[in-house]
């Protein structure tokens, strides 16, 4: 099985290399001859493929040995089918801590754009929870830090969904307003499982995200989201032999300028468990700041994660913690970033530990 996955990985890698002469930024240097073939207003669809990956070296007091690590290998494909229809796909190969390869179609979506106000997306998508999940997600090169915030990792939040999204933006006199309403299969029986083909309880998850960007402070964005789902029962686990009502309330506040990056997100997850009759409340947030000085970008982030005690859905990841992360990112060239990052984690039920990571993240 592992060999088959590696073979598939190599096939896709070779396919990616074949497309490399047409990287996305080559369009930036496009010349007029290309646009004037046929109808310049409606060129034939072009497949654009991009890749993201990262390689790290980490020393972590909480783990056995220092190690080199290959991060996620992310192939990202887009194509404009017409003025109104577009296609996007994202395929990720990754290796687990057991060194076994796995492969996942992270996103496959077709988008219909009627106007700035009305857009419809169908497929497997990033759940519109706030800021990080849609903005960075798999592309470590995009994000300033080496790793995601804790609340954005390990499926604490439902990071992907299969279904429909309605989204758009509207200009008002003193602000821009954006909305995203999604109806999707929702969470599966366990946090690591996906309902890509079959929804186990037929009840759809609904998420509403509202965002605003006031003119008074360009670069400032804030928003709120509400996610409602009924998590299906997992008959294989006695404690999960009933459904869980899930309610997620989220908020984010982001400020970005040429030099300043300030990110903050908050999520409160309520699980109403049918089996135990208990409510489990989980809270997570992060606050991150960075300052760009030429090619250097020092940064700091504080993470907080507090699970509801005994929450059966989070049984495999229950680790309350506070974490401080500080580092510096250096970009010798535009498409490659080098990061050195120190973190200090204070779990509630374990000894504190620290780690240091050197990472190179790039896009190709």
């Amino acid at each position: 099985m592992q060999e088959a996955e590696v073979s598939r990985f190599l096939i896709v890698l070779v396919a990616a290399c074949l497309f490399l002469p047409l990287p996305a930024w080559s369009q930036e240097e496009d010349h007029e001859e290309r646009g004037e073939q046929g109808d310049p207003a409606h060129p034939a669809p072009q497949l654009i493929i991009k890749g993201f990956t990262d390689i790290s070296f980490s020393e972590n007091q909480d783990e056995n040995e220092n190690t080199f690590t290959l991060g996620q290998f992310d192939l990202f494909i887009t194509s404009a089918l017409s003025d109104k229809f577009s296609f996007l796909s994202e395929v990720v190969y990754r290796f687990g801590r057991d060194n076994k390869a796995s492969f996942e179609i992270e996103r496959v979506q077709v988008k219909y754009s009627h106007s700035d106000q009305i857009n419809l997306v169908l497929g497997r998508m990033h759940t519109p929870l706030g800021y990080w999940n849609e903005t960075y997600h798999h592309g470590a090169w995009f994000q300033t830090t080496a790793f995601r915030p804790e609340v954005e990792d390990s499926n604490v939040l439902p990071q992907h969904e299969i279904g429909l999204q309605f989204l758009g933006s509207q200009r008002f006199p003193s602000l821009d307003f954006e909305y995203n309403i999604s109806i999707a299969n929702g969470r599966a029986r366990t946090i690591s499982e996906n309902q890509t083909v079959q929804d186990f309880n037929g009840l759809k998850a609904v998420n509403i995200l509202l965002k605003a960007s006031p003119d008074a402070l360009p670069g400032l964005k804030f928003g709120f989201n509400t996610y409602i789902d009924k998590i299906p029962a997992d008959p294989a686990v006695p404690a999960r032999n009933g459904e869980i009502d899930e309610l997620i309330l989220g908020a984010h506040l982001v400020y970005l300028s040429a030099n300043i990056e300030f990110l903050s997100e908050f999520a409160h997850i309520s699980h109403d468990d049918e089996v135990s009759g208990k409510d489990f409340e989980t809270t997570g947030y992060y606050i991150q700041g960075a300052y760009q000085y030429q090619k250097w970008k020092p940064y700091y982030r504080f993470d907080y994660l507090n699970f509801g005690d005994g929450d059966p859905y989070y049984a495999s990841i229950l680790l309350d913690q506070k974490k401080h992360t500080a580092g510096v990112r250096f970009d010798p060239i535009l498409w490659l970033g080098l990061k050195i990052e120190y973190s200090f984690t204070r779990p509630r039920i374990k000894d504190s530990f620290s780690s240091i990571t050197l990472q190179t993240a790039f896009t190709f």
Partner: protein
């Protein structure tokens, strides 16, 4: 010696002269009913935050190549970022599914003008001295290129 002094003086005078000004004209196809934009509307269209004209046509943005004086002025006055920052910006929009590719880029003001004259939904920016009746020059904040206070002005 006198010739060297003369050459040196000429260089000093030339260095003190102001650089030649370049006015950027924002142009659209003559069929496009839009004739004026505010600075904010222009910024949203050039950043593809607004992707549809009021009549429902999709905005077809045409940029000029990196390093051109026209692009440098627009980067400074509209995008407020450098060329690398703009490339990163486009890639981020692609990743979020907001656009499918980087905007089209042409090599000169003449090429941009010729393209826009053929494409009803296109918008671009050119050296105002190359503008002619084949395209429509938009008013920006009620001003035309060359007016006192016109925002898209810089050095050649």
């Amino acid at each position: 010696m006198e010739r060297a002094m003369f050459f040196f003086m000429c260089m000093l005078i030339l260095a003190g002269l102001p650089a030649e000004a370049l006015d950027i004209a924002v142009i659209v196809n003559k069929q496009n009913p839009v004739s004026k934009l505010t600075s904010m509307e222009l910024s949203k269209i050039l950043k593809l935050e607004k992707q549809y004209w009021e009549g429902g046509m999709k905005v077809y943005l045409v940029l000029q190549e990196s390093g051109s004086s026209e692009k440098q002025i627009v980067l400074k006055r509209v995008y407020r970022m450098d060329d690398e920052g703009l490339k990163k910006y486009w890639l981020g929009k692609m990743f979020r599914g907001e656009i499918s590719s980087f905007p089209k880029t042409l090599g000169s003001s003449e090429a941009v003008k010729r393209f826009i004259s053929q494409v009803p939904n296109a918008i671009g920016f050119i050296d105002n001295s190359t503008a002619d009746a084949s395209v429509k020059v938009l008013l920006v904040d009620g001003r035309t290129p060359g007016d006192q206070g016109y925002s898209l002005t810089g050095d050649k």
